[in-house]
Each structure stands twice: as structure tokens, then as C-alpha cells.
């Protein structure tokens, strides 16, 4: 079974339309809401973990897009600026999903973006600003996807 973390952005024109339940009904996907924020009448953002066969995840994402949901793969949005990371490990104690861990015995910090849920803790704690775009729920972020 594959798993993908996706950010769904519902613009005002579709934000009250029920869409997500169909991922389970029509595509047999397990979805797990990691975080969600609704700005009434403006925008809704949901961070979903999708689990299922790779093929069906892809179809599900296609279905969402057909319904005017903006879909972004978290792994495309969140990244580490490698030159800035000094492998201190300060982020590893706060990462809630184990996306940031220390490898043994090298004591280097590895970042598994597939496990990241963009909670933003690493961005706050990193003394060197190495973790990029790790918060997706910045209230001022509205429209960021449009300008891309």
C-alpha cells in the first residue's frame, strides 16, 4: 500500500461542495486528515494523508483536480536547503512524525519528506533556516498557490 501526503486547497467557489468522501467511496482510499483550516467563504485548506494502491491514489488526485480542488504534493512543497543544514539535530527532538531523524553511527540528520506533515516545528527550531515552506497554514498564505 502506498501513502502520499497532499495539500488540498478549496477556493471559495467549491469550498462547500462535498468532495473528499468520494475518495473513499469511489477510489477505495483511506484518508487521514492531518490538519485543516477553513477561512469562511474564502478558502479551505486540508492536509490529507492518502493511503491505497498507487494507481488509485493517482486516480483520486485526478478526480480532485477535475473538481477544481488545487492539489499539491507535500513532498514537492517542503524541502531542506542542504547547504544550510549543519546536521546538529535540533529539529529531531520536535519532529512529530519521525520525518527528521539522526542516522547512526554517522550522526547526520536525514529528512524523509514522505513522512512530513508540514507542522512547521522544524522551521521554527532550525537555527540556520534550513527547512523551507514547512507551514502551509499561514493565514497570509492565501493565494500563494495562484501566484505560482
Amino acid at each position: 500500500m502506498a501513502s502520499k501526503n497532499v495539500l488540498l486547497i478549496f477556493k471559495s467557489n467549491i469550498m462547500y461542495k462535498p468532495v473528499i468522501y468520494r475518495l473513499a467511496r469511489d477510489f477505495d482510499l483511506i484518508f487521514n486528515i492531518l490538519e485543516a483550516k477553513i477561512l469562511p467563504r474564502r478558502e479551505g485548506r486540508i492536509l490529507l494523508e492518502l493511503r491505497g494502491s498507487e494507481d488509485l491514489i493517482e486516480k483520486g488526485i485526478k478526480f480532485l483536480k477535475q473538481n477544481e480542488v488545487l492539489v499539491e504534493l507535500l513532498s514537492d512543497k517542503v524541502w531542506r536547503e542542504e547547504d544550510k543544514c549543519v546536521h546538529c539535530g535540533a529539529c529531531t527532538g520536535l519532529c512529530p512524525t519521525g520525518a527528521l531523524t539522526i542516522t547512526q553511527p554517522e550522526m547526520r540528520v536525514s529528512f524523509d519528506v514522505e513522512k512530513c506533515v508540514a507542522c512547521g516545528m522544524c522551521g521554527l527550531v532550525c537555527p540556520f533556516g534550513a527547512m523551507k515552506d514547512v507551514t502551509l497554514f499561514d493565514p497570509f498564505a492565501e493565494g500563494r498557490s495562484d501566484s505560482k
Binding site: V86, H87, C88, G89, A90, C91, T92, G93, L94, T101, I102, Q104, E106, M107, R108, M121, L124, V125, P127, F128, G129
Partner: protein, 391 residues
């Protein structure tokens, strides 16, 4: 010195460096060597053990002479990229502290402040070859009439630029936890409430002063790896305290010895001098230091073979106790335990994370090893060792 089977001098080791016969190991490699050969044979074979550390060291800064302006100025306020440098010295000398924030930094007004740019970042920018904006202000005198001077300056434009750090390389340090009910933002990182995570900050078995616990070979004049270049220990650092509780192997069980260091910024690298921003706390500088430890006798072989299992850090509460002026240990934990990413405290498993980079500390120890092995770096014999206690 008659008590030892092996007796070497700095001069003898330097001679071996010169003729290329010197044997150098990193402090990590020395653990196995001493175990395998025994201390006497290890001391016979190994001449130098290299150490390393790369952590946040707030008590750091740069002494800068920015050169005389035309007309001349006796600056009494100096800013570099908006960060103030202390200018209460002669005309164009100033000291830029690593922890100094920008004049317009919002600090902790919106908590936790992010402290994105400060003295440490200016130092990193200078070492990286970037130009920084110098602004100097003065009240004007007969001999120094200029009242305002502005220039874009790169490191090469400063007649003198030293890294001059009054307290670096803490011999050991606290393992910080938070027993309060709210998240706290400290110089030991972010600590969740109810003792959910613990942070520590030394390179343990690689750390310079942990490999020479009684400072037998370290003092004023010790030549070191500093910020990617060569520097010197210029004496004990501030707050140096050899009288801290020690375990049976002589290793201190808490923050104890410190070193003051100096080096020419112009031979340093931004890889080993990195500006740091600690949310809710402030700006700082990550400093890379490596101290070579001569194996003068078998006792030094024993000292330098200390491993993470033998080094204890005190667990200290940063929620209530430390801020109130306390800091008494709630318990002790070894670096070997801390490095597993989890310790048991108060019957509960809690996550641990380092703040000091072991990976880069190892790189430093290896670079220093390379410098010595290839005859590019000679040991500096201290003219005065750091204040110490007897074993």
C-alpha cells in the same frame, strides 16, 4: 614525570610532525586503540589525538579595525549591516558580539521572536567574502573631525579582523528539560512542557576539554583549529570552573572548563562559523573548534580514550529551576544514552536531541588530523595551562 613509562615532549612530537612520522588519531579512533593496545602501548604509538566540536557559542565575536576614513573619524557608534558593534575603544576599532541583534529587530515583541540576523550572521557573511554595510557615527574632535562614515566593506578591506571569543568549548553541559506546563524557547532549543523532550549540546567523546579533563596540555598558546583556520587558546574562558563534581575517571559531570580563543578571521571559513537564530532566545554563532591533544604519557592516552558511555551530563530543568537561578541536577545521563534519541527519566521515555553537530565535530577532528599528518600544523606548547584541580 618519572612516574610514567612513556614520556614525550611537545618538541619531540613537533619533530615527528616535521619529519612526517607522527601518528595522529581522532578522539573517536583513540577509544578503540587504547582498548586494543592498552594505554602504555597506545601512548607509545600515538602522538596526537584530535578533537572537535561545532556548537552554538554565544560568547563569541569579532574584533574589527575598519581602517581610517578621510577625513578621520573617532567612531563612538558603529553598525555592520544594522547590527551594533561596541565602539568604546580607539578611533576605528570595534567589537561585534555574536549575540547582538539588529537595531530594528522586533526581538520577542511577537513571541517567539525569530532573530533572523545578528552579529553571528555578520561574521558569517564577512568570512564568506560578502560585503557588509559599515556605518560609523562620531561627535567630532579636532584630530578626528568626521562625524559620519559609511562604506561597503568586505573582510579583505578591514586592516585587522580577529575572531576573539571569551568563552568557548564548554567542557560538558546540561541536558535541558522543561518541567513547566508551557513550551519554552531557550538557548537549549525548544522544550515542550511536562518534560516531553530533552536537549543536549556537546560533542561528547570528541569534545576538546572532555579529552583532557585536567587541562594538562591546554592553555595559553595552544594552537587549535578555529573556524576552519588556525587559532589559539589565549587562556581560560570566562566562567571556567575546574571544581565541578567529577566521576571516577576524572571527567566533569557538568559545565566546567572553558577556553578563550583568538584567530585571524581572514583564514576562516563560513562552513565552520555559522550565524544562528534561536527562536524566542536570540542570535548567536556556531563555532567550529578542534584542539589537538599531545599524548605525552599513558595517562593522556587514558584521558583521550574517554567514550560517550563514560561521560555524564546533568539533567536540568529550564522550566522553573534554571531561570530562577538554580540548576541543580535532577539526575545524570550518559552521552551514549542521549545519542540513542531517547532516555528514561522519572520512569518515562523522553525524546532527546543534540544541538551541537557531531557530524561536523568529526569533520573538524579529521581535518586537524590531516593538517598534522601532512606537516601543515604544529603543536603549540602552552605557556600557562588552564587553572585546574588535582586528580
Amino acid at each position: 614525570m618519572g612516574e610514567f613509562k612513556i614520556n614525550k615532549t611537545f618538541a619531540e612530537i613537533n619533530k615527528k610532525i616535521k619529519d612526517g612520522s607522527v601518528v595522529v588519531l581522532t578522539a573517536e579512533e583513540m577509544i578503540g586503540a587504547t582498548k586494543e593496545l592498552g594505554p602504555v602501548e597506545a601512548a607509545r604509538k600515538v602522538d596526537v589525538v584530535t578533537t572537535g566540536t561545532f556548537g552554538i557559542m554565544c560568547s563569541s565575536g569579532a574584533f574589527l579595525n575598519f581602517g581610517h576614513a578621510k577625513p578621520r573619524i573617532k567612531a563612538n557608534r558603529v553598525y555592520l549591516n544594522g547590527v551594533e558593534a561596541y565602539a568604546g575603544l580607539a578611533a576605528v576599532d570595534c567589537y561585534l558580539g555574536a549575540a547582538q541583534t539588529r537595531e530594528d529587530d522586533p526581538l520577542n515583541k511577537v513571541f517567539p521572536g525569530r532573530f533572523r540576523y545578528g552579529g553571528g550572521h555578520v561574521i558569517e557573511d564577512l568570512v564568506a567574502g560578502k560585503e557588509v554595510k559599515l556605518e560609523a557615527f562620531a561627535y567630532g574632535t579636532d584630530c578626528y573631525p568626521n562625524r559620519q562614515h559609511e562604506a561597503d566593506m568586505a573582510l579583505k578591506d578591514f586592516p585587522d579582523a580577529w575572531l576573539l571569543n571569551p568563552r568557548n568549548g564548554y567542557q560538558n553541559y546540561n541536558c535541558a528539560v522543561n518541567l513547566s506546563k508551557k513550551t519554552i524557547y531557550t538557548y537549549m532549543g525548544i522544550l515542550r512542557p511536562d518534560c516531553t523532550n530533552a536537549n543536549y549540546s556537546t560533542s561528547g567523546q570528541l569534545s576538546p576539554l572532555l579529552n583532557d579533563p585536567f587541562y594538562r596540555t591546554i592553555g595559553l598558546g595552544t594552537r587549535i583549529f578555529l573556524g576552519g583556520g588556525v587559532g589559539y587558546v589565549i587562556g581560560n574562558g570566562t566562567q571556567h570552573n575546574p571544581n565541578v563534581k567529577r566521576s571516577e575517571n576524572g571527567v566533569v559531570m557538568g559545565g566546567a572548563g572553558t577556553i578563550a580563543v583568538k584567530g585571524d578571521l581572514k583564514n576562516m571559513s563560513p562552513k565552520y562559523l555559522r550565524g544562528a537564530s534561536l527562536a524566542g532566545y536570540g542570535c548567536s554563532l556556531n563555532v567550529g573548534i578542534g584542539v589537538p591533544i599531545p599524548i605525552l604519557n599513558e595517562e593522556m592516552a587514558i584521558f583521550t580514550s574517554v567514550s560517550d558511555e563514560d561521560i555524564h551530563a546533568p539533567i536540568v530543568d529550564y522550566g522553573f529551576d534554571y531561570p530562577e537561578g538554580g540548576g541543580s541536577p535532577l539526575g545524570y545521563v550518559t552521552y551514549a544514552q542521549l545519542k540513542t534519541g531517547e532516555i528514561t527519566f522519572d520512569g518515562r521515555k523522553i525524546t532527546t536531541a543534540p544541538l551541537s553537530s557531531y557530524a561536523i565535530a568529526l569533520e573538524i577532528a579529521n581535518s586537524l588530523k590531516d593538517w598534522i599528518t601532512t606537516g601543515r600544523f604544529f603543536l603549540g606548547e602552552p605557556q600557562e595551562i588552564l587553572p585546574t584541580v588535582s586528580y
